[in-house]
Subunit: 441 residues, 2 copies
């Protein structure tokens, strides 16, 4: 077993002088896309500037690697398309940056089985198979780190295992999807239509041609599942977290939200109460003055709530090659500073009941064909379900043929509201289903 140089803030860029330090760990990079290139750049620059006593960059693995070769990669780094060659080499740490489940899952499993530690930015892989893969790493006396899998440039996952480890967290909430935040903050700023904001995000490379994973919450709930795993020690499958789409949000919703002192963001949140994990992802009203309300463009924000330390917020770039690469290289450094070959204690994860039945105030936005008696009908339905109206907002200047207006409700449970929503959306004057957003305070 190697000796362990202890972690310390001061040895980040320090040159080696201690006689009994660990030899540099040999690092192979698998997947040479945007993040892979950025990781390679940092590793090469560390070597050029400091000599890098911790990490030795040995392999790059990618299909058709001949077309990928870069002049700034030193000649002693081996390019290959054969992952088997890495498995059978003396590489200590494999960086998996292929993404997706296939073939990434097989590669990660085979690396761990070969006793090689793995650093990955693969949120889908960790969200679905994180607990299993961690046990596999433990059984093979190596490590699995995934700090880049959530909010790449925001060091929240490392904080959960260091500076916040002394607290007992009960809640995590975040703006975890930069695409949604870009679109919503663009609508907020210039009151442009949703479709225009989406096209702009696509043109700038913030959204893919098929942006469903972003818009409909699939991306964010995978990240929330990882945060809940690491911060709340619970096992929750992404598919068990309700995700609401941001597609129905329109400029008018920002006008009405502003009257309530709020704006709209895609919020992912998980609260552990007794044996239930309340979790969901979706567009929500947040106070304009809150940390969430102020997150612009494609930034990410994560807020943790602890029994002792209260709320802590982390803000930074959520994606992008360089910020994500920092998270990857930071994980490499943490592994390189730790003892090689030590076993990890068995994981104790709770498997709570998963619920989306939050109790909050609500924002209901209707679009109706105007006629007498609409408010009376809606009020009667709400009243029949024991739901209390807090305010009715109706801005002037809309056509009677398609009139948007808003009712806000006092706090009530999601499950209590749901049947009322169905009844109201079925009324003959309702041109569209009612848009229902929680109001977070």
């Amino acid at each position: 077993m190697h000796k362990t140089p202890p972690e310390h803030p001061l040895d980040t860029h320090s040159a080696p002088t201690s006689p009994d330090r660990t030899p540099a760990r040999r690092v192979a990079l698998v997947g040479f896309g945007t993040v892979g290139r950025a990781v390679a750049k940092i590793l090469c620059e560390r070597k050029n500037k400091d000599g890098d006593s911790l990490l030795r960059f040995t392999h790059i693995c990618n299909r058709n690697f001949e077309r990928k070769k870069q002049p700034w990669v030193p000649g002693d780094v081996i390019w290959t398309d054969d992952f088997g060659a890495i498995l059978s080499s003396d590489v200590d740490i494999v960086i998996e940056l292929i993404g997706g489940l296939t073939p990434a899952e097989d590669l990660v499993r085979s690396a761990l089985k070969a006793g090689k530690s793995v650093v990955t930015a693969n949120k889908q892989l960790i969200a679905r198979h994180g607990p299993d893969l961690l046990q596999l790493a433990s059984a093979n006396r190596c490590r699995l780190e995934f700090g880049a899998s959530v909010a790449g440039g925001v060091p929240v996952l490392p904080a959960l295992r260091t500076g916040l480890s002394g607290d007992r967290l009960h809640g995590i909430a975040g703006i975890l999807n930069g695409t949604c935040n870009y679109i919503l903050s663009r609508i907020e700023t210039d009151r442009i239509p949703f479709s225009e904001a989406l096209e702009e995000a696509q043109a700038r490379g913030y959204a893919e041609a098929d942006a469903s994973e972003d818009l409909d919450g699939g991306d964010a709930r995978a990240k929330l599942s990882i945060l809940a795993l690491a911060g709340l020690q619970v096992r929750v499958a992404p598919a068990d977290i309700r995700a609401r789409t941001i597609r129905p949000i329109e400029a008018i919703d920002f006008d009405y939200s502003a009257e309530l002192g709020c704006t709209i963001r895609q919020i992912s949140r998980a609260d552990l109460k007794d044996a239930t994990l309340f979790a969901e992802v979706g567009p929500s009203l947040v106070p304009t003055s809150s940390p969430f309300g102020r997150v612009q463009k494609n930034l990410n924000l994560v807020l943790t709530s602890g029994e002792y330390g209260g709320d802590v917020a982390f803000l930074g770039a959520g994606a992008g090659g360089d910020p994500t690469a920092v998270a990857v290289v930071s994980d490499l450094i943490v592994i390189a500073r730790s003892a090689a070959g030590s076993a990890r204690p068995h994981l104790q994860l709770a498997s709570p009941k998963i619920s989306c039945d939050f109790e909050t105030p609500w924002y209901l936005r209707f679009v109706v064909k105007d006629q007498p008696g609409i408010i009376a009908r809606l009020a009667a339905i709400l009243s029949a379900h024991q739901l209390n109206i807090d305010a009715i907002l109706q801005k002037p200047g809309f056509e009677k043929s398609s009139l948007p207006f808003v009712i806000t409700l006092e706090p009530s449970r999601d499950a209590q509201l749901h049947p009322a929503l169905q009844e109201m959306s079925a009324l003959p004057f309702a041109l569209r289903p009612c848009l229902c957003l929680p109001i977070l305070r």
Copy 2:
């Protein structure tokens, strides 16, 4: 040497099942004040709820401990006023929460020399003797952690050695003193006089009777020195960092700042450029829409700027027993999970030139006995020093006998501005020295 359980987010509260794990580390607490009590509470609750396989709380050391005894501290914790008894015991980790330099420095040195790791929240001790004490710890194969010494509830120091370790930081800035931020944000909100805001802070326990260390920047520059050490790998003595007081700030300065889209905060900042560390602490104009501009009450915010990852912000409670205790217990956990008895690599700290000669735009607020030709005189002096006026702001409604108005300057260096300030403050119509604040963008 003990075997090392690797750090991992998932083992935070996990029960032990691995057969070869480290035995719980024995922990002694020295100093049973507000933070000490809060640390003891968390340690006792960890034991009650989880058994706590990592930490075993064995001693509490305080003068007149009989008066301090608490019913919720288990009977097997030894109370003592004799630090020597702890030194000669089998305690693994000493928590130093006495504060100040005497006798804390001697206690910490003797603990480290006895091979006991130390966790401290003592900013003065680390700011002045951090590098020495770290070397002492290294020489005695034990650890010194001080995550609670800066912005107690904000896990920025742990992030510097984990999630940000892969970046190359060039700047750190922060709101590091909750007292100043409370006072300034109170003046901002209600336009009360400085003296009233200070009295309110004292009444609420946010400021001490003699608040000089807070108001005049002594507290913040000690913290900035620690952040520069841990994040920029530089050695800078607190006394070498210029500190400007917040005492001359008045409600009118918030009125003029608002016209510039700004508010005023005590900002501590350090920028490493080539072989120079630009550093200072003092009241500064920041955009109302910036992360700094939005920090209210006694919260702390730290912003790091990296070559690869860009800006990352951390926001949380800066002080208070419970948040600071979380930082202390988190440090205990990090030590308990690391290998015992391993040596730390020799530290490589740079000792750059220290300068406060930032180049920024400036806010100059004059209070004059009004008479013809004032602007012309000031403009002539500024012009003679090659300083360009950006705007002149003068609000109506003030007595001619004591008229406050503002000149803003285009970016210029501090050293260039200083002689002009002296000349202007000596003019016969100047009732007070000109208040000069940098405008941070």
